[in-house]
Amino acid sequence: MKLAKVWAFAIYEVRRAAARKKVLALVVLTILLDTVPYYLLRTSRLSLLPVSDYPYLWVAGVFILQGFFFPFIALLIAAGSMSEEYEQGTAEVLLSKPVSRDEFLLGKFLGGLLLMAVVILLNSVLSVSAATFAFGPQLSLQVLPTVVLAQVYSSLVFLSVAFLSGELIRRSSLSYVTASAVFLTSYIVGIYLRFIFQLTGDALYQSASNYLPSTPVSALPLLAGQPQLPTAALSLLQAVGVGSDEKSIVFSVVLIAGYAICALVIARTYFNRVDVSKKVT
């Protein structure tokens, strides 16, 4: 496998995904979600928020999108990654060159991950900038690289699920719907299981919830950032609904790797064994 070819496909994938209006719309939405709330909070002259919380308001913007919004961006980026190449007939030209299917597949996946990383980084930079602009200097920012890294790593779950869905189904809309259904089911079942746990106290429900694919996506960045964040910042996170029952970083890391590796291995096996589809007309 030649890394230069993998990189060429990765850059190509970033260009391809970024050219799609749906992805661009979500990036614009990310920017709005990161800036408008701070502006509104500032102009409404907060009376309920203690001044001592002001230096930690950046955490709300950085963490609030990770559980629900980031997975959707990941789904949008990855569900079309392979399927649109088949739909538009572009896979045929790219794969008629002396490249291995592994180089193509890996490059495409890494390109999606790269774009996702850019979106996550943009979210952090905008949140910190907006919070600084609205409420003055922000503190405990040394934790930010760890959190961003954890968020990028967490995005692997739904990037790989959607990537697999796109390769298996080879229709962009259907693969997006399928991958979204996986995410939403996991998210809703997780809420139910935690609710039942609170009612019954039976730890089985909590454990089951922890194994769902959406759980480590929310949990890992929080677990990674928590030890370095002061109580004021953690209280703020609790107030905006960012929290997790999962306590083990290792468990989350392994679970994310497990989901991502399984999905990618299935996608690779299928891609290597099945004909390159002709353009869908």
Binding site: K5, Q88, R101
Partner: protein, 314 residues
Amino acid sequence: MAPEMEELVSFKGVVKDYGSKVIGPLTFSVGRGEILGLLGPNGAGKSTSIRLMLGLMRPTSGEVRLRGLDPVRSHQKALEEVGYSPELPNLQTFLTPTELLKLVGRELSIREADIREQIPKLLETIGIFAYSDTKIGKLSKGMVQRLSVAQAMMGSPTLLILDEPMIGIDPAGVVHFRDLFREFLANGGTIIMSSHIMSEVESLCSSVMLIHSGRVVYRGAIKEFIEASLNARSVHLELGKHSKELLGRLRQIPGVQGVTETPKGVDIALEKGRDLRGEISKTVVQSGVDLLSISYSRSEFDDAYVSATRGPVD
């Protein structure tokens, strides 16, 4: 293919079963230096053959070899020095021609400096240099077709596989491409070209292969193909005012198989190997009718193709 020629492509009993349709068994080979015209009606199996050659699909049974290698298992090695332009040039609309050729250059592991040097030359050669930095989505169909051929020619391939390369190209472009392909051949290249434009195949190709209903029904020189397949020729007449009686007289000429009146004139089907244009002209003139024009309705090659693809394969 001449026996001493090095085989670049070989199919041995290749079958592709789509479930609803079976292509094959296909057995043929293409030698270095050939320019082979791939002919056949729509759905006959031309594109399937090309996709099998390129390793884009696996055969259900049989053996495909490209440059002596299995194009699926040894994809990278087999596809070195092979350029492919698909039937529908579905190129990335969000890229510019320069960006697309850069990507292709990287796929071919060409050094960056060489890519930068090669791209303007190639775009110039293919006639779209002025649109180097225009998004492909904004180019005309003909320009996209030209770009498709350009990407196939990137990296100095020795074998070009072109699926309908002249579709959408203006007449000047067709002449330009013809010269370009001839130059490619003169430099030792090999071309496999699928086309429905018979005149193009006739003027460019040294040999043809006709695929009909998933089978190879002819493989060899064009001249021999015409001799083997031409069953009947058709002559077209443009006449002045005439009666039904003339048509009856024309039917009575020995060797005439049929006479049909159309809004544009009269079509006369002739027996194989008979040139009756002199007899026909004489009959018309003797009847006192003005003979405005007389010519073969189609070229011999066209007629041979029509004969060869009429009816089911044995």
